[in-house]
């Protein structure tokens, strides 16, 4: 990028960057061969000045590349969701087809290292969500490319990256103990919990969602790579929903038990409702969380084989809904009101009070925004059964008042408990959105 000779088509020229579009939209229509690329970069001295490893150099690389890459980004890529904004994306964003979730542990106790990591993640996230290569040392034969390459030429695929920090982030290692919001702590143990440490907690989290699994994986892989020396992976989980290709109308997705899941979710287009249910405001706690939200993550293993042996009427009584339509039992339409007082001729409640819908709904005053994905992790080697379930994710303004209060109800008597067990648990404080020129977590780290 230090090429000062205007007659020299350096590596940052639009022609060169157009390689990502060659096979699709054809930004300039001009093909640049691999050979040309090497020739051009050989002349331009790309990477020589910007090379190096670690976080600092990747930041340097990104900022040098930004202007030219922006041209490319605006030229195409309608399926790009902006990374920068008032709130983080990936929360109100209609769920993409795939999830790649990663929890990290810090290996540093130095706050400035953490700040550098978030700064590097910010520039990287901006690239990832707009379908651009990370960094610009991608053509130097003497260096590993700054982008691992598997998403090269792929569209952004509505990729969103949502960042948060766990309660352990405030345990004193970084000197941030006083910044921990009062009600932000690890979840209490719920009845029936069967938590395994390898699926719990984390100092940091990244929720990567995209309509393409390779794009989502690429994001987590590269963020983990950049974190090396500052943070290490603690646990990861991939997830999926029915794809938008298989369900172009975008009906409520079904979970692996075959039931529609998310019917009772609050309306993400209702700004007032979101301010009530999801976003923190100035009265809620420390100011760094204004515009942020709390995430609850639960890895729920479903006893698929047991479920598959229960009859339809028992399955429907378990959910309190009809399987095919998703309507409350006794109703016709999925979105019909959940009438928890309705009784049959004998005076018995039509929707059992221990059904999942009845308990989750409660008196209707406490809501949270669910954004879960199914997971399938091969076979359970002990049982020979499928290891599959739900990576439950919810966003709420207050974990204790919302998630905990609902989950305490559910964990005690939910009829669904017979068919599942919670194996993982984590909570994260998801920062407010990042402004252009700012970085993830800036409101906390200054």
């Amino acid at each position: 990028m230090k090429d000062k000779n205007p007659s020299n088509p350096g590596p940052s020229s639009p022609e060169l960057n157009s390689k990502e579009n060659d096979s699709s939209t054809g930004f300039t229509g001009k093909k640049v061969s691999r050979r040309d690329m090497l020739r051009l970069t050989g002349v331009g001295g790309l990477g020589l000045l910007l090379g190096g490893g670690g976080i600092g150099s990747i930041i340097a690389a990104r900022s040098a590349a930004a202007p030219n890459r922006a041209v490319q980004a605006s030229a195409a890529l309608a399926d790009s969701i902006p990374f920068f904004g008032e709130h983080q994306a990936g929360i109100l964003t209609p769920a993409q087809n795939f999830l790649c979730f990663a929890a990290f542990d810090l290996t540093t106790t130095n706050l400035s290292d953490v700040k550098k990591l978030f700064q590097a993640w910010t520039t990287t996230a901006a690239s990832l969500t707009s379908g651009q290569l990370i960094g610009n040392v991608n053509d130097n034969p003497n260096l590993p490319p700054t982008d691992t390459g598997e998403a090269d030429g792929l569209s952004p695929s509505r990729c969103t990256l949502t960042f948060g920090v766990g309660p352990s982030f405030f345990d004193g290692r970084l000197g941030l103990g006083s910044q921990r919001p009062a009600s932000f702590q690890d979840l209490p143990v719920f009845t029936g919990d069967n938590l395994e440490p390898q699926w719990c907690g984390g100092d940091l989290c990244v929720q990567a969602c995209a309509d393409d699994m390779q794009v989502a994986f690429h994001a987590i892989r590269n963020l983990a790579r950049i974190a090396r020396g500052t943070a290490v992976l603690r646990w990861t989980q991939e997830g999926f929903q029915r794809s938008s290709g298989a369900d172009p109308k975008g009906a409520t997705p079904r979970n692996l038990l075959g039931f529609k899941d998310g019917t009772g979710n609050p309306d993400v287009t209702d700004r007032k409702e979101m301010d009530t249910v999801v976003w923190n405001n100035s009265g809620d706690g420390p100011s760094w969380m204004n515009g942020g939200t709390y995430m609850a993550v639960r890895r729920v293993m479903l006893r698929i084989e047991v479920w598959d042996r229960s009859n339809l009427s028992d399955q429907e009584a378990t959910f309190g809904r009809h399987r095919q339509t998703g309507a409350p039992i006794g109703a016709k339409d999925e979105f019909d009101d959940l009438d928890l007082k309705a009784t049959d001729a004998s005076g018995k409640l039509i929707i059992p009070e221990n059904s999942h819908s009845a308990l989750a709904h409660g008196d209707g005053t406490v809501k949270m925004l669910r954004r879960s994905y199914s997971y399938s992790s091969g076979m359970n080697l002990k049982t020979g059964q499928l290891d599959a379930g739900l990576l439950f994710i919810s966003f709420q303004r207050d974990l204790v008042k919302q998630f905990v209060s609902i989950q305490q109800r559910l964990s005690k008597i939910d009829k669904l408990n017979e068919y599942m067990t919670h194996t993982g648990s984590a909570v994260f404080a998801c920062f407010p959105g990042t402004r252009k020129g700012g970085y993830i977590g800036q409101s906390l780290l200054g």
Binding site: K2, D3, K4, N5, S7, N8, P9, R35, L38, R39, L40, T41, G42, V43, G44, G45, L46, G47, L48, L49, G51, G52, G53, G54, G56, S57, T107, N140, P141, N142, L143, P144, R225, R228, G229, V232, L233
Partner: protein, 294 residues
């Protein structure tokens, strides 16, 4: 242990070739003209800048001296080891096995660049055809699994000859800056791929000896290239230094006397921590190629 390796010269040549084309097609700009800072010109081994290639001469010479020192010690310790094997001293042979190998593990990329020497000396079971399997790990299996030195006499003699051949060949082996840079990373990749998993020393469980030796070999190269690296990217140079220190701190508790604990004694989370510390080092180290230019 790795049989395929990139031919460093080929890579470098490719870079020269393409850069050269660029010069011709861009109104006579030469490749070195486009390097706009003094640092860049000092560092580049690119085309036509013969004085740049000379910049690594000192480091290469020092590295060859190091390799020869290691090889001398390797031949000597291998001789002690095979003598114990041939004299039927089982416990003595077992004690000499891992320390002798460390000299080899420090300079493994050089051996890998010298034809069949690496498989002959260091192949693990199933790396090569059963009929061709020889070297340290064949004897390792006999000592730890078959619990005898018997039948290993010929294998022992051949191993010493292979070690002596390695010593003879390193005098004239092609060593260039690219080999140093890729060799340092390869040493750590060796650790990631086979030592961390405990596959390298599957019978003796002396993997930590190899682990430490590979890291020491990589650190030696880093130290030799440090002055150049400090000119081009001081932050990177510092980061690598810090991560070597961090990894060595992680390894320290496993040292017992002059040796290391059995790999079987490591808990799962201890292995993972070592692996993650190694990755944290290998990532910036893999960018040391920045001193080679483009």
């Amino acid at each position: 242990m790795k049989f395929s390796y990139v031919v460093p010269v080929g890579l470098l040549a490719a870079s020269i070739l393409f850069a050269g084309c660029g010069s011709n097609e861009n109104n006579g700009n030469t490749a070195s003209d486009s390097n706009t800072t003094a640092d860049a010109q000092v560092a580049t081994t690119a085309p036509g800048t013969t004085e740049a290639a000379a910049d690594f001469t000192a480091a290469i010479d020092k590295y060859r001296t190091y390799v020869i020192e290691q090889c001398d010690a390797f031949v000597k310790e291998t001789e002690n080891f095979i003598n114990a094997v041939k004299e039927g001293k089982l416990e003595e042979a077992k004690a000499l096995y891992a320390p002798a190998r460390m000299y080899y593990e420090r300079i493994e990329p050089i051996a890998e660049a010298l034809g069949d020497l690496d498989p002959n000396i260091d192949a693990r079971e199933n790396d090569v055809d059963a009929t061709e399997w020889r070297g340290f790990h064949r004897i390792e299996k006999s000592l730890w699994v078959e619990k005898t030195t018997k039948g290993m006499e010929t294998t022992a003699d051949i191993l010493l000859k292979d070690a002596q051949l390695l010593r003879a060949k390193v005098e004239t082996a092609d060593i260039d800056a690219n080999l140093l840079v890729t060799g340092a990373v390869e040493l750590l990749n060796e650790v990631s791929s086979s030592k961390v998993t405990g596959e390298e020393e599957r019978y003796s469980h002396t993997d930590l000896y190899d682990f430490v030796a590979n890291v020491e070999g990589a650190e030696k190269i880093y130290e030799l290239l440090k002055p150049e690296l400090a000119k081009i990217d001081p932050t990177l140079e510092q980061t690598i230094g810090e991560r070597f220190a961090a990894l060595k701190t992680e390894l320290a508790p496993f040292k017992v006397g002059e040796g290391y604990v059995s790999y079987e004694e490591l808990k799962e989370e201890e292995v993972r921590k070592l692996s993650q510390s190694l990755d944290a080092l290998a990532e910036p180290l893999s960018n040391m190629g920045t001193i080679l230019g483009v």
